[in-house]
Amino acid sequence: MKVAKEMSVKNVNNFYFSLREEVESSNHVVLDFSDTVRIDSSTAQIIISASKKVMELGKSIRFIGVSSELEKLLKLAGIKLQ
């Protein structure tokens, strides 16, 4: 699933529902951050919660295309790259 370039509370609902579908339909959720330059707290908390959920369901989640800048941000947001 491709993540938008700039993630904020303005487009977080779209992201949330797309991710819900992905979590329900796929055993291996992949979030593609190739185009993403920034995420905000609203996106971060969804990713954290989704990660917990896929673990509970015995599924997996993976992040790809993470730039070094974004990686720093993800780390600050408490998201560990798998």
Partner: protein
């Protein structure tokens, strides 16, 4: 530039960091994906940058800033470790070393720096930042807050309200801003506050942070970041500098439990941890297993945390206090004076009446015990592991091997073996000579090795271990070995051995002769015949010995044997005339009396005595040192049999006084240049006794 004290601290610290960097870079070359080494190198550059800024070494600051940026890209995986990068890093280290410790090439320094910076930018695929952009380093490292000011650590708890997004505030951005004031060491999210994925409202905030930040700024500066959210949200800032006081690069001065590390990694929060600990107490299984079973973390994540815990523990164990070695020497000298003072008191006790003598001896007995313990403690402080000395040769081997087009690996074993610091300081040069020989003469080029069925890369092994109260250092190479026939041919040509000499040991020992070399061609590396004789002399000055074993086509082993310490020895006190001399106990085999019939004078060998069927040379100390004695006949005297390098000699003495620990005092060359004397000590009655150097004595006899 900063004040001298600060500069000195910086230079000392830099020397250590640079040494570690060199080792890690060389290791990285062979393990290019090792993230742990990559992270460590990044941290070293970061520390070097910060310290240089504080100490006022602006050029170093600027340069290490670039190296840090380069390595940040390596760390994030944007740039792969390549030979080019390794070369740039090593060349950069050389430039930094030159800038800090050797300003002899100052004219070229600026040019080299420009060239290196260009190479760094090319690697990063970016253009250099302007000087202006780099100019704010002082504020970045906190220099404006006062030179030498320590870093502060703050713990920040930030719980934001659910509706904070509607005010256009993003907590993550606030946390990011905090990072601008220092380094965010720990960033924990309270995951308990984040609801189930299916039950969350994406537009509501559930995020709250616990952060540990390292900064030069004060609390007010940090509070400013929360200016617009302070009133409506729960923000707590606590100064935790004492708790997190950093010990250089050794991490933080607290041992950590696995749970704490998992919390730091953001895998669990404090509440989770409490629950897991309770479960652990009930189930009696390991915390890591519970975490994995519950699916909170993967086995790999737990293993990583366990490794981190182990590393912290190890580093804490290695925590040291930096002490000027001169102070240590002074302490040792003072202890020597105490030992001498005690010996004086023992002597005084002999002159007292029985009751008083008994009381004094009793008191001295207790004092002796404490002094001995004290001495052992000081000795243990003087003992340092040889590992860092070994490690420093990795760079030397790499560069020299590259120059000669050879492929050579340096293997280090027994780096934890401890030696007296004086030995460590003096062993470097001899080791370098031996390694240089192994690279130049020993290890073959790859094609030659392959043709012989050997691996393409040669190995030089440095191995240290303790055995029988001595320290052994082996330098082993799996090269072509020493050609016995070549050494013999040269030895015969130089008139050092007869044509019919067949003793392997004697032939091989020729390599220790001054000027002896089987290589006709003089190169930059070896072939001048200067080297192994220097090695032998240096080792013997350390009261050690060198032994060589070699097999043609298979390799060479050079074994150095040295005493554990150079400061104190167990000595045998002997009397010759009215003088007292000391023979190191380690060299003594036995003390005997010879019969008149067992004494001979042999043409070409001088005086000899028969000991267990073997004639050994006899040395008269009175003759050697010009002492007057009434006992002139060997059969009326005592003979101390000593051994050096497998050669035994008998030393003629008047009487044996006893044995005791001897504090060695060095003596000036103006007093004696005799190789038979290694130093002196002060006896209890204030008299000076000379210490006999058995190696030197044997050598001197050979030259008679």
């Amino acid at each position: 530039m900063g004040d001298t004290g600060l500069t000195e601290v910086f230079l000392n610290e830099s020397k250590e960091i640079i040494g570690n960097l060199e080792n890690d870079i060389i290791t990285l070359e062979e393990n290019r994906d090792n993230q742990e080494i990559i992270n460590r190198i990044f941290r070293y550059f970061h520390t070097l940058k910060g310290s240089s800024g504080i100490a006022g070494f602006n050029l170093i600051y600027e340069f290490t800033h670039n190296l840090e940026s380069l390595f940040d890209k390596v760390r994030s995986g944007d740039i792969k470790v390549s030979k080019d990068i390794i070369d740039i890093l090593l060349d950069s280290i050389d430039w930094i070393k030159g800038e800090l410790f050797d300003r002899s090439d100052i004219d070229c320094s600026a040019e080299i720096k420009i060239d290196l910076s260009k190479r760094i930018y090319e690697c990063m695929g970016s253009i250099p930042e302007s000087e202006e952009e780099n100019g704010d380093f002082l504020s970045e490292v906190g220099a404006y807050s006062g030179v030498g000011e320590i870093e502060r650590y703050f713990k920040i708890n930030a719980i934001f309200k659910e509706n904070i997004f509607s005010n256009g505030i993003d907590p993550l951005m606030i946390i990011e801003d905090l990072g601008g004031f220092g380094e965010v060491l720990i960033s924990n999210i309270d995951q308990k506050r984040i609801p189930d994925f299916y039950k969350m409202d994406p537009e509501k905030n559930y995020m709250s942070w616990e952060i540990i930040i390292k900064t030069f700024h004060d609390e007010m500066k940090l509070r400013d970041v929360f200016l617009f959210v302070m009133d409506d949200n729960k923000i707590e800032i606590e100064n935790v500098t004492e708790q997190y006081a950093e010990v250089k690069d050794y991490g933080y001065l607290t041992e950590k439990k696995l749970g704490e590390i998992l919390v730091e990694h953001g895998l669990i929060n404090d509440t989770d941890l409490e629950e897991i600990v309770k479960e652990q107490e009930t189930l009696k299984i390991k915390l890591g297993d519970i975490v994995v079973q519950k699916g909170i973390a993967s086995t790999k994540q737990v293993d990583e945390a366990l490794q981190e815990q182990f590393n912290i523990k190890k580093k804490l164990e290695n925590s040291t206090v930096r002490v000027d070695s001169v102070k240590l020497d002074n302490l040792m000298n003072l202890l020597g004076e105490i030992v001498i003072g005690q010996a004086s008191l023992h002597r005084v006790s002999e002159d007292l009446d029985e009751a008083e003598s008994f009381s004094l001896k009793n008191a001295l007995y207790g004092l002796d015990r404490v002094t001995r313990e004290f001495q052992e403690q000081i000795m243990s402080i003087r003992m340092v592991p040889i590992g860092p000395t070994f490690e420093q040769f990795k760079r030397f081997v790499r560069d020299t091997a590259h120059t000669l087009g050879k492929e050579i690996k340096l293997k280090v074993e027994g780096g934890d073996t401890e030696l007296d610091k004086t030995v460590i300081e003096k062993i470097g040069d001899p080791l370098k000579h031996m390694i240089r020989n192994a690279i130049g003469h020993g290890i073959e080029i790859s094609s030659e090795r392959k043709a012989k069925g050997k691996s393409s890369a040669g190995t030089i092994t440095l191995k240290a271990y303790h055995q029988e109260g001595n320290v052994f250092i082996d330098v082993i190479d799996d090269g072509e070995g020493i050609s016995l026939s070549g050494v013999k041919k040269k030895g015969v040509a130089l008139g050092l051995i007869p044509v019919d000499e067949n003793s392997k040991e004697k032939i091989i020992s020729l390599i220790f002769n001054p000027g002896f070399s089987t290589t006709d061609e003089v190169g930059s590396l070896s072939g001048r015949g200067v080297g192994m004789d220097v090695v032998k002399t240096n080792i013997e000055e350390l009261r050690g010995s060198v032994e060589v074993k070699s097999k043609e086509g298979e390799g060479t082993l050079i074994r150095i044997k040295m005493p554990l310490t150079l400061a104190i020895i167990e000595g045998m006190l002997v009397k010759v005339g009215s003088s007292i001399l000391i023979i190191p106990l380690l060299s003594v085999i036995e003390t005997i009396q010879v019969k008149k019939n067992d004494y001979r004078t042999v043409e070409g060998r001088g005086e000899v005595i028969l000991v267990r069927g073997e004639y050994i040379s006899l040395v008269r100390l009175n003759v050697l040192f010009g002492l007057e004695t009434e006992i002139t006949n060997p059969w009326e005297a005592l003979i101390v049999i000593v051994e050096s390098d497998g050669e035994r000699i008998g030393i003629m003495i008047d009487d044996l006084i006893g044995q005791q620990q001897i504090v060695i005092k060095s003596i000036d060359n103006s007093i004696t240049t005799s190789r038979s004397i290694s130093g002196a000590t002060i006896l209890g009655d204030g008299r000076v006794a000379l210490i006999i150097d058995i190696h030197g004595l044997v050598e001197e006899i050979k030259n008679y």
